[in-house]
């Protein structure tokens, strides 16, 4: 876990933990807000991260994937619960966000599924997560790692 060293930027991001984190990169006008994740037990179990992705530009954007040094197989997933109360999870595919709109990744719905962890997710640390868009644009956000029993970005 020594790989993620707290730089000045990371410290600043941690300080603003639950607040809006402008994450502008390349041509994508996207702001990621309230990013958070839960600590993992070891590296065998997949992790999940949550956030709100807001399109602040004038053009629609389409989220097509994720990348992070933390996990070999990061993927946008969606949990669905059917009429019988049975929950299941599957890849959400591409996610289009209209100008001015936002998409919430939150417990029980969309989430950034972090499969094949490369290191444990330790409470109090952060990890970089890059959102990949269809036009080649990328947005990287530092995601704070909260406790295993966290319920939201403020926990």
């Amino acid at each position: 876990m020594k790989k993620i060293i707290m730089t000045g930027t990371l410290a600043a991001l941690l300080t603003f933990g639950g607040l809006s984190v402008p994450a502008l990169a390349g041509p994508v006008d996207v702001v990621v807000e309230s990013a958070w994740s839960r600590a993992s037990i070891g590296m065998n179990r997949p992790g999940a991260a949550y956030m709100t992705i807001r399109n602040t530009g004038d053009e629609p954007v389409t989220l097509i994937g994720l990348s992070t040094p933390l996990a070999m197989m990061p993927e946008i997933h969606e949990t669905k619960t059917n009429a019988e109360g049975v929950s299941s999870m599957s890849a959400a595919g591409e996610i289009a966000i209209a100008p001015g709109e936002s998409v919430a990744l939150e417990p029980g719905g969309l989430h950034a599924m972090l499969m094949r962890l490369q290191q444990p997710m330790t409470e109090g640390e952060t990890f970089p997560l890059t959102l990949l868009f269809v036009d080649g644009g990328e947005v990287t956000v530092e995601v704070p790692i909260l406790g295993i029993a966290a319920r939201g970005p403020e926990d």
Binding site: I41, R45, V86, S87, S88, M89, L114, M115, A150
Partner: protein, 208 residues
């Protein structure tokens, strides 16, 4: 609908149709129907299973009878629904305060292959201390799930791993073991806590 159909036939025909309809009803909706998933859970007193809690104690339905029970199925490799539900449960227990001390609270794995007693012990330690983690042989997990009318299914994922689809509702039973109600996933806390109180207030007498 059925009456109108019958009216067009003679008495014998009507009788035959009535019998056919009765047999149909018996099989589809009546007592002869197979019990579909989503039906009312059995009373704990009617269940039969042997499992092991996260401290290595042997447990069964009798472990729960005598106190109200809140139970939930899941697995510790579940990144989204299970930690969310267990933290919701922890929050409800905090809201209930001292009242929560009367409750059995049980998290039952549907993935005993990975969720050993040790794995359950570590996992539940991160949530409210009242939560017990139960695991056991596959056949016994199937029996308890059947008693609860809970469903689960192993689903392979990319790269040779697997995940589990499972009933995500929280089940509530009275002290005598009678099923009271369930809290569906996504149900707001203002509904959940009163439901738990209903289970707490359920009569100890008159279980079936």
């Amino acid at each position: 609908m059925r009456r109108r159909t019958i009216a067009g036939y003679g008495a014998a025909g009507a009788g035959a149709i009535a019998l056919t309809l009765f047999v149909g009803w018996w099989r589809v909706d009546g007592p002869g129907a197979p019990e579909p998933i989503g039906q009312r859970p059995m009373a704990l007193t009617e269940m039969d299973f042997r499992l092991t809690d996260h401290e290595g104690n042997e447990v069964g339905p009798e472990t729960l009878i005598g106190r109200p029970t809140m139970a939930f199925f899941g697995f510790t490799y579940c990144p989204d629904v299970c930690p969310t539900t267990l933290s919701d449960i922890s929050g409800w227990l905090d809201d209930l305060g001292d009242e929560a001390k009367q409750l059995n609270v049980v998290f039952i794995t549907v993935d005993p292959e990975r969720d050993t007693v040790e794995a359950m012990a570590e996992y539940v330690s991160y949530f409210h201390p009242a939560i017990r983690g139960w695991t056991g042989p596959e056949g016994q997990i199937a029996r308890i799930a059947d008693g609860f009318r809970a469903a689960y299914e192993r689903v392979p994922t990319e790269g040779g791993d697997y995940t589990m689809n499972h009933t995500a509702s929280v089940f509530l039973f009275g002290a005598a073991g009678r099923f009271v109600t369930m809290i569906d996933y996504h149900e707001p806390r203002e509904f959940a806590v009163p439901k738990i109180r209903r289970a707490l207030e359920e009569e100890t007498e008159g279980a079936t």
